[in-house]
Symmetry: C2
Subunit: 207 residues, 2 copies
C-alpha cells in the first residue's frame, strides 16, 4: 500500500519514471492533506471553553472531514489500481480480429474505471472545500490560517483531479459517457476558484 | 523526522490536535509533490528517442526540480523546529521585568525564524512553478497532465506559505522587518495565479 510508505519514499517514487504513483495519487494526497487540516482545526476546537456554543457543529465537521480524509487515501490507492488495469489492457495481444476487439473493449472498460477514480476525488474535494467556510467561522481562531491552507489544498486537488479526468476522456469512445462526465465535472468545478478566494479573504481578515 | 513517517501516520498527526505538523509542513509537502511531478515528467523524457533534441534542457530541469524537492522536505522539518522554538519562547517565565524582557526578545527572535521558513518555501514554490512552462513544452507529452498537477501543487503551496508568513508577521513588532518581508512576499505572489492558469491552458491544449 502506497500510504504505508514513508513520505520520503512516496516522493522518491512519485519523482521516478515508474508508472505509479503519478498525478492521480498526488492529487489524492493533496486532497487528504486538505481534509486533515480541516480535521486539525476541528480537533483544536473540540472541548475548548471559548467554543462551547459551536461544539455540535464542530463535531459534525470533524466526522465528515475524517470520512473524506480516509476516502481520499482510498482513492490514492485506487488510482494506482486503475492505472494498472489500463496498462494491462494496452498490453493484451492484438494478432487476430477477436484479440483486437477484446483488447479494445478491455481498454475502454479500464479507461472508464480510471475516469471514475478522479471523478470521485473531485467530488470529495468539493465537499472538503465546502467544510472550510464554517470551519473558518466557528473553528479555533488561532488555527484559522490552517483552514486557508486546507482550502488551497482542496481546490488545487480538485483542479488536478479534473486534469486526470480529461486525460482519460480523450481516449474514451463512448460519446454519451464523455459528454455526461464532462458536464458533471464542469458542475463540480463551477464557482470553486471563487469559493476558495472567498475563504482566503475571510481567513486573512482573521489573521 | 516527519518525512520518515508513513503517509498515513503523517496525515493522522496532521489531523490531530498535536501542535506539529501543521499548515506549514502541509504546504511544504504540497510543494515537494509539485517538484516531484516536474521530476517525474523529466525522468519520463530522459533518454527517449523522440526527445533527443531537448535532453540538455530536460537534464537541467531535472537537476533543479530534484534540488527543490529536497529543499522542500528540509523546510517540512524546518517548520516543525521553528514552531517548537516559538512555543518554547512563549513558555518562558515572566515573573520579573528581566524575565519579561528576555521572554519577549526570545519570542520576537523565534517569530522571525518562523517567518523565514515559509518565505524560503514561497521562493522554492516560485522556482517550481517557473520550471513548469518549459516542462509542458519540452517534456514527454504523455505526462503533460502531470506538469499541470505539479503547477497546481506549487501555486497552492505558494499561497499556503504566504498565509504562514502573514500569521507570524502579525505578532512581530519590528515594523521595518514586517514591511520588508511583506514587500518580498507580494513580489513572490505577483502574477503567479495567472502563470498557473497559463500553464494549465497549455497543458489542456495538449491533452
Amino acid at each position: 500500500m502506497l500510504s504505508e510508505k514513508s513520505v520520503r519514499i512516496f516522493l522518491d517514487e512519485l519523482a521516478s519514471s515508474a508508472p505509479a504513483p503519478g498525478g492521480g495519487s498526488a492529487a489524492a494526497l493533496a486532497a487528504a492533506i486538505g481534509a486533515a487540516l480541516v480535521s486539525m482545526v476541528a480537533n483544536l476546537t473540540v472541548g475548548k471553553k471559548d467554543y462551547t456554543h459551536v461544539q455540535d457543529d464542530i463535531q459534525r465537521i470533524l466526522k465528515r472531514s475524517e470520512e473524506l480524509r480516509h476516502k481520499c487515501l482510498e482513492l490514492l490507492e485506487g488510482d494506482v489500481a486503475a492505472y494498472t488495469e489500463v496498462s494491462l489492457a494496452y498490453k493484451m495481444p492484438r494478432d487476430t480480429e477477436e484479440q483486437k476487439a477484446a483488447r479494445s473493449a478491455a481498454i475502454q472498460k479500464a479507461l472508464k474505471t480510471a475516469t471514475a477514480v478522479p471523478m470521485e476525488l473531485a467530488e470529495a474535494c468539493v465537499e472538503i472545500l465546502n467544510l472550510c467556510p464554517e470551519s473558518a467561522e466557528k473553528g479555533n481562531v488561532r488555527a484559522v490560517s490552517d483552514v486557508g491552507v486546507g482550502a488551497l489544498m482542496a481546490e488545487a486537488a480538485l483542479r488536478a483531479a479534473a486534469l486526470n479526468v480529461l486525460i482519460n476522456l480523450g481516449s474514451i469512445k463512448d460519446e454519451s459517457f464523455v459528454q455526461q462526465t464532462r458536464a458533471r465535472l464542469n458542475a463540480l468545478l463551477e464557482g470553486k476558484a471563487e469559493l476558495k478566494e472567498k475563504i482566503l479573504k475571510d481567513v486573512e481578515a482573521k489573521l
